[in-house]
C-alpha cells in the first residue's frame, strides 16, 4: 500500500513540468508584481494564464523562462530548480522552451528562413539537417513559400506565425506565449490559438497568457487567473 502510493507519487513527480511554490516577485523599483503564487502544470497540459493588464501574467512567464529570478519561493521547470541553475546553464535550459512574444521579437535584418533557423544555429545544429527542420516548422505555420522574405514585408499575423515557427523549430517540450494575439483581429487570433492547440495535441505542453477570455472558453482548457499579483482562480473549463 505504502509502496504503491510512493510509486504513484514518483510518477506524479515526473509528470510535473512547472511547479511554483509560494513564489513572489518584487521588481527592483519596489513593485510587488507576484505574491505567494503556487500552482502545478503537468506534462502535456495546455494552460491559459488570464487576468487584467498589469495583473502579473508577463512576470509569471518571465520567471518560467528565467528572464527574471523569483524574489521568494521556488520555481521548478522540467525538473530544474531555477533558483539554483548556474548562470552558464541558462542557455541550455532555454533551448528546452519555445517562446512566443506579443511583439514577435524577430530580427529584421534576417530573412524569415534565417529567423526560424536561429535557435538551431545557436545550439550548434548540423547544417545538413537544418534546412529540413526549418522548412518543416515553416510548413506547420503555413509560411513555407515566404521563407526568403524579410519579416517587415509580412503582415502582423504572418510575423507572429514566423515567431511560432521559430519557437517550435527546436522541438521544445514547453511552449510559452505572452499575449501572442494581442495585436491581431479575431480571425487571425483564432488561427494562432488553433496552432497552439494543435502543438498541444501533439504532446507539447503549452502555457499561454491572454486577457481574451473568448479563447479560453472556445478551447475549453484549464486557466489560471491572476489579479494584482495574486492567483484568484484555478479553473478547469474543460468542455
Amino acid at each position: 500500500m505504502l509502496e504503491t502510493s510512493l510509486r504513484l507519487c514518483s510518477i506524479k513527480k515526473t509528470k510535473m513540468l512547472i511547479e511554483f511554490s509560494n513564489v513572489s516577485k518584487r521588481y527592483p523599483e519596489g513593485h510587488e508584481a507576484l505574491r505567494d503564487i503556487s500552482f502545478v502544470i503537468e506534462k502535456g497540459e495546455m494552460v491559459f494564464l488570464a487576468g487584467h493588464s498589469g495583473a502579473g501574467k508577463s512576470t509569471l512567464l518571465r520567471l518560467v523562462t528565467l528572464i527574471e529570478h523569483a524574489t521568494r519561493g521556488q520555481v521548478i521547470v522540467n525538473g530544474q530548480n531555477l533558483g539554483r541553475l548556474k548562470r552558464r546553464k541558462i542557455p541550455y535550459f532555454r533551448r528546452q522552451i519555445g517562446m512566443v512574444f506579443q511583439d514577435h521579437k524577430l530580427l529584421h535584418n534576417l530573412s524569415v528562413f534565417d529567423n526560424v533557423a536561429l535557435p538551431l544555429i545557436v545550439s550548434g545544429f548540423h547544417p545538413r539537417d537544418l534546412r529540413r527542420r526549418v522548412h518543416a516548422a515553416l510548413d506547420k505555420v503555413g509560411l513555407l513559400n515566404r521563407d526568403r522574405a524579410k519579416p517587415i514585408t509580412l503582415s502582423g499575423g504572418e510575423q507572429q506565425r514566423v515567431g511560432i515557427a521559430r519557437a517550435v523549430v527546436n522541438r521544445p517540450s514547453l511552449l510559452v506565449a505572452d499575449e501572442p494575439t494581442g495585436n491581431l483581429d479575431a480571425g487571425l487570433s483564432d488561427e494562432i490559438f488553433d496552432l497552439f492547440h494543435d502543438f498541444n495535441y501533439h504532446g507539447v505542453t503549452v502555457l499561454v497568457a491572454t486577457h481574451d477570455l473568448r479563447h479560453i472558453e472556445r478551447l475549453g482548457k484549464r486557466s489560471l487567473t491572476l489579479s494584482d499579483g495574486r492567483m484568484v482562480l484555478q479553473a478547469n473549463t474543460a468542455a
Binding site: Y27, P28, I90, K105, L107, G124
Partner: protein, 306 residues
Amino acid sequence: MLVWLTRHLQTLVGALGDLSRSPFSSILSISVIAIALALPGGLFAALENINKFTSEFEHGAKISLFLAPQVSVKQATELQQSIQQHASIKLVELITPDQAMEEFKSRSGLQNALNSLTSNPLPVVLLAYPKDEIARSAEKLARLIDELGKLKQVELSQFDLEWIKRLTALLELVTRAVWIIAFILGLGVFLVIGNTIRLAITNRQEEIRIIKLIGGTDAFVRRSFLYSGMLQGLLGGLLALLIIFLLFSFISAPTSSLSSMYGIAFSLDPLHFLPSLLLVSSGALIGWLSARVTVGVYLRQFEPGK
C-alpha cells in the same frame, strides 16, 4: 570540424558586413587605430635604421691590445692565434714593433729623433676586431675588453670608439622610451576598439536579447564582436604599415643623397617582414582582447533580473 570552421567563417564574413554597414565610422576608427600603431611602428623602424647606420662604424670597431715589453713576436703570434679562436672575435691582426715604428715615424714627423734610438721601445700590438653582434652591445663589448685586458701578456687593452658606446647606450634608452610610447598608444587602440564594440553592443541590444532568449550562449554572442574587434585591429595594423611605408619612401631619396655626400652608402630600410607581421598581429590581438573585455562587461546587463 567542418561545422566549426564554417560557423567561424560565417561570423567573420558577418563581422566584415557589420563594418561595411557603417563605412564612415569604421574608416574613422580604423584610421585612428592605424595612426596609433604607425607612430611606434615608425619609431621602431627609424631606430632599426639608426642601428644599421652605427653598425657601419662598428664594422671598423677594434680593440687594441698592447702587449708587455718582454713578449716576443713569436709568443705574440701564438697569442694572436688563441684569441682568434675566441667566440666573440672576428679577426686579430698583429703589428710588430718594427711595423709600429715605421708607421709612427711616417706619421709623427719625429723621424730623426726616432732614428737615433738604438732599440725599439714599442711593444707588439694585437688589433682584435669583435664580431658585429658584440660591437653593437656596449655591455658585451665592455666585458670583452675587460676579458682581453686580463690576459697576462696584455698590458693595456683599449677601445677606440668611445662615442659609439655612448650612442649605443643612448639608443637603448630611446628604445625603451619607444616601448613606453608603444604601450600607451596600444592602450589607446584598446580603448578605441572597446568604444566601437560598446556602441555595436548598444546598437544590437535587441538582437543580443533575442539570441539569449532562444538559448544562445555568451560565447555565441561574443563571437561576432571578437571578430569585429580583431578585424578592426588587423585593418588598422595594415593601414599603419602602409603609412610607415609611404613615410619612408618619402624621406628615403633625400637620406641616400645626404649620406652619399658624406661618402657613406646608406639606404633607408622600411619595416622588415617580421616586424611588420608583429605590428599587424599585435593590432589584431589588441582588438581581440579589447572586444573580449568590453563584451564581458556589457553582456552582464542581459543576465536575469534578481
